[in-house]
């Protein structure tokens, strides 16, 4: 008899695993953009322009929002619901602020006449930042669902089901956060 069958394997929850698979596909999606960027840039005729300062501020905002969510989950697991809610609201607010700051960043680029069709470099810049903000908006939609749950008092005590939902939402949010940091560093290095 195979002994393996009798061992209770500790495995990751299927839904979490599925989320990681989805993240892999998103990584491939953005790798395509950034590799196309590198290929195109090497061909020359590439306009360099400074990244708007709003983007640096937005980076701090989204990092802080991730931090809020990270601590809020710990608070939730320790049944410190009050702290959990405060941190969740702060993280959510910072997330919205990120979207606003990105928008302001594009606006200030427009003021110095860097539009989507100015040069290949600006086309790629807008393509990548637009694609990223779409993923962030997906994250905000997921956070909204959680927010409604909190308002309807579904998160007033820790439960396995809620913890899983929180973990799924937060994992995705941390992903779009790290993705942004990667994209920002990429855009700075490859300007």
């Amino acid at each position: 008899m195979s002994t393996l069958t009798d061992v209770k394997l500790k495995r990751i929850h299927p839904k979490k695993f599925a989320l990681w698979m989805a993240i892999v596909s998103m990584i491939m999606f953005f790798s395509a953009f950034t590799s196309a960027y590198i290929v195109r840039k090497s061909a020359g005729n590439w306009l360099s322009f400074p990244l708007p300062v709003e983007f640096y501020i937005s980076t701090i905002t989204i990092l802080l929002s991730s931090l809020c969510f990270y601590i809020s989950k710990k608070a939730y697991l320790e049944a410190n619901i009050k702290l959990f809610k405060i941190l969740f609201y702060s993280g959510f607010g910072l997330g919205l602020l990120f979207v606003l700051l990105q928008y302001l960043g594009w606006q200030s680029l427009h003021r110095i006449d860097i539009s989507i069709s100015t040069n290949q470099s600006s086309s790629f810049f807008y393509l990548i930042t637009y694609a990223h903000i779409l993923h962030v908006i997906g994250g905000i939609a997921a956070l909204l669902v959680t927010l409604i749950g909190i308002i309807r008092k579904r998160f007033d005590y820790p439960s396995d089901k809620r913890t899983l939902k929180l973990e799924l939402t937060y994992t995705y949010w941390h992903f779009v956060d790290l993705l942004w940091v990667y994209l920002l560093v990429f855009l700075i290095i490859q300007q």
């Binding site: 069958t5 500790k10 929850h13 839904k15 695993f17 596909s25 491939m28 999606f29 395509a32 989507i116």
Partner: protein, 622 residues
């Protein structure tokens, strides 16, 4: 971390996704309450078995449309002077009527639209969604011993995104300017400039939107398949006890997960070029003598890289499920274990890895650096090794077996034959030097139709005939099935065999007419022959469709649970299994899936049968 044990996991998944909780440790799951209405049961079903039928029937619908289109453009190629005004009720304005004679001719624009749609429909809707969607859905939960997919909801969404994608493409056929007509590969600038041709207008926009939805469908499906295979196998179902079908579906889903997002990026860039004034793929373009001075700096070849980074793994996304199905069907009907089980698994994995390293062999003629071409030639030719391992193992599986000749097994042998024939011409095209002569000729058309088009269809047919009882509790008519097989087998070679000669003589693909090329007059009769063969084969497929639907209602009723004497888990579930597949506990697995004729007195041993005292699992020696 929500780390959980398997038992808890089963309970959790089913409790959450099916909308009603069972008590802990009690996972009986027969006949859900939610399936009480027609809509829940047949339209927005969460049951993987129903979703699999939805994929299959939608795929068949598209196969008829796609094949029908090929018949229409073959009429133009075989009989360019014939009067086809009788097609006007169907095609309307796409038939050009000569006012003096009243004779009708296919409009050249529509010829290109038909070729483009034929490719798009067959590659994506039929051989990706129809094949892998159908059989991954049907077999993954049933063969690994799971009650359903990891997320039945995402699974349902996967189907409906596919449906939506198809509806959008169908709609584009009725546009005033027609559907996209720049080839199924959607190369810029035809795809990126609405003013490039009629088909590049609304038709192309809808094509892009349709395919973006299609990518979403593939990703939702793929994520589910991978998660289910890796996380939801029943007790005892180790990776090396999985049937080869499951291995094939797993690798297929991984390929899709890694390659479809890349083409989605390409599609977004084309959308940007069309709508937002960027020039990712445009440079120095003249249209109707007018220079597009604003649209410079891009590179059309970049799109080809993005496209073929999907496009090549895509052909393995198409062929791997067929290979898995054929392995299973051949073993069961040869009444022998599959020859070299582990070699089969590793060759699937090797093909999977290599499929990502060969995309530029579609681009030898784009001005690629010859040194880079060399690398792609090398990897391309290396793929012949795992492919040959598989072919050898299939033949060795049949060899000396007590072979049952039925529709399913015949189509499997047909698959092997076509895969060998088409694979051999791949050796020519994979070589960048020979490709200079052969590229964009009918040699290429013949190669890919034989090696992945028709052979994948054969794999699909084998699967349908074999698992029809599992799907509908009845058998398909065997006589009609065998007529279908022999006609299609002979017909496939009759259609694509001669195209190799045309290609070697330099006849280019995608040409509407060869009137001005006297050198190709010698092929007039051959073209007529091909067209007649294509029409006959098309009607034979309708025979299959009739057999299929007739058998759902009137076919021979399945009385035994395991009619083929197979060993895998899908035949241990009741004939009319409800949602949840097994009444009572999920079966546990104790042995590999190919214990066929292992002992003189036992023709087959189900995977659920515990090993006898001192017996070694059959899989350990393979």
């Amino acid at each position: 971390m929500a780390d959980i044990t398997i038992t808890e996991k089963e309970q959790l998944v089913h409790g959450e996704d099916h909308g009603h909780d069972h008590g802990h440790g009690h996972d009986e799951h027969h006949g859900d309450k939610y399936q009480s209405s027609f809509i829940d049961r047949y339209l927005f079903s969460l049951d993987h078995k129903t979703i699999s039928k939805q994929f299959l029937i939608t795929g068949m619908f598209w196969a008829i449309i796609g094949a029908g289109m090929s018949v229409i453009f073959r009429l133009q190629l075989g009989f360019p002077d014939a009067d086809i005004s009788w097609l006007q009720p169907l095609l309307g304005g796409w038939i050009d009527i000569d006012p003096s004679t009243g004779a009708g001719k296919l409009s050249p624009d529509f010829y290109y639209a038909l070729v483009t749609m034929h490719g798009t429909i067959i590659v994506f809707f039929v051989l990706t969604a129809g094949l892998s969607g159908t059989f991954s859905n049907l077999l993954i939960p049933l063969q690994i011993g799971a009650r359903d997919m990891a997320s039945p909801l995402l699974n349902m969404l996967s189907y409906w995104f596919f449906f939506l994608s198809g509806a959008i493409l169908l709609f584009s056929l009725f546009l005033n300017t027609g559907p996209f007509s720049g080839g199924w590969t959607g190369y810029p600038p035809l795809s990126a400039l609405p003013q490039a041709s009629d088909g590049s207008k609304g038709g192309m926009t809808l094509w892009l939107i349709s395919l973006v939805f299609f990518v979403v469908s593939v990703l939702l499906g793929g994520i589910n398949y991978i998660t289910t295979v890796l996380n939801m196998r029943t007790k005892g179902m180790t990776m090396f006890r999985m049937p080869l079908t499951i291995w094939a579906f797993l690798v297929t889903a991984i390929l899709g997960l890694l390659s479809f997002p890349v083409i989605a990026s390409g599609f977004f860039m084309v959308l940007f070029d069309r709508a937002l004034g960027t020039s990712f793929f445009l440079d120095e373009i003249y249209i109707a003598g007018e220079a597009l001075t604003e649209r410079v700096g891009g590179n059309a070849i970049l799109f080809q890289h993005l496209f073929w980074f999907l496009g090549h793994p895509e052909v393995y996304i198409i062929i791997l499920p067929a290979m898995g199905i054929v392995s299973e069907v051949l073993a069961v009907h040869a009444r022998k274990p599959i020859f070299g089980y582990k070699a089969m698994v590793f060759s699937i994995l090797a093909i999977g890895v290599l499929s990502f390293l060969v995309w530029a062999h579609h681009m030898y003629m784009t001005g690629l650096n010859p040194f880079i071409s060399n690398i792609f030639v090398l990897f391309t030719l290396i793929i012949a090794v795992p492919s040959a391992v598989k072919v050898f193992n299939w033949i060795a599986t049949i060899w000396g077996g007590n072979f049952r000749y039925n529709s399913a097994s015949l189509f499997s042998i047909g698959f092997v034959s076509l895969f060998i024939s088409g694979g051999l011409t791949g050796l020519f095209l994979g070589n960048s030097i020979i490709d200079i002569q052969q590229h964009d000729t009918y040699f290429v058309v013949a190669h890919f139709h034989v090696v992945m088009g028709v052979s994948a269809m054969f794999g699909m047919f084998a699967g349908i005939y074999h698992w029809f009882p599992r799907m509908f509790g009845r058998f398909m008519n065997e006589t009609l099935g065998q007529i279908h097989f022999w006609g299609t087998m002979i017909g496939a070679y009759a259609i694509f065999g001669p195209m190799h000669y045309q290609g070697m003589a330099g006849v280019p693909r995608r040409y509407y007419s060869f009137d001005t090329f006297q050198a190709f007059d010698q092929f007039d009769a051959m073209n007529q022959f091909i067209t007649v063969a294509a029409i006959i084969v098309f009607f034979l497929q309708l025979l299959f469709v009739i057999n299929f639907f007739y058998s759902i209602y009137r076919g021979k009723v399945q009385t035994e649970m395991n009619p083929w004497g197979a060993t895998t888990l899908e035949w241990t579930a009741p004939i009319k299994a409800g949602h949840g597949n097994w009444e009572g506990d999920i079966p546990h697995v104790h042995r590999w899936p190919y214990d066929l004729n292992r002992y003189p007195d036992r023709e087959f041993i189900l995977q659920t049968e515990p090993l006898a005292e001192g017996e070694v699992d059959g899989g350990s020696s393979h």
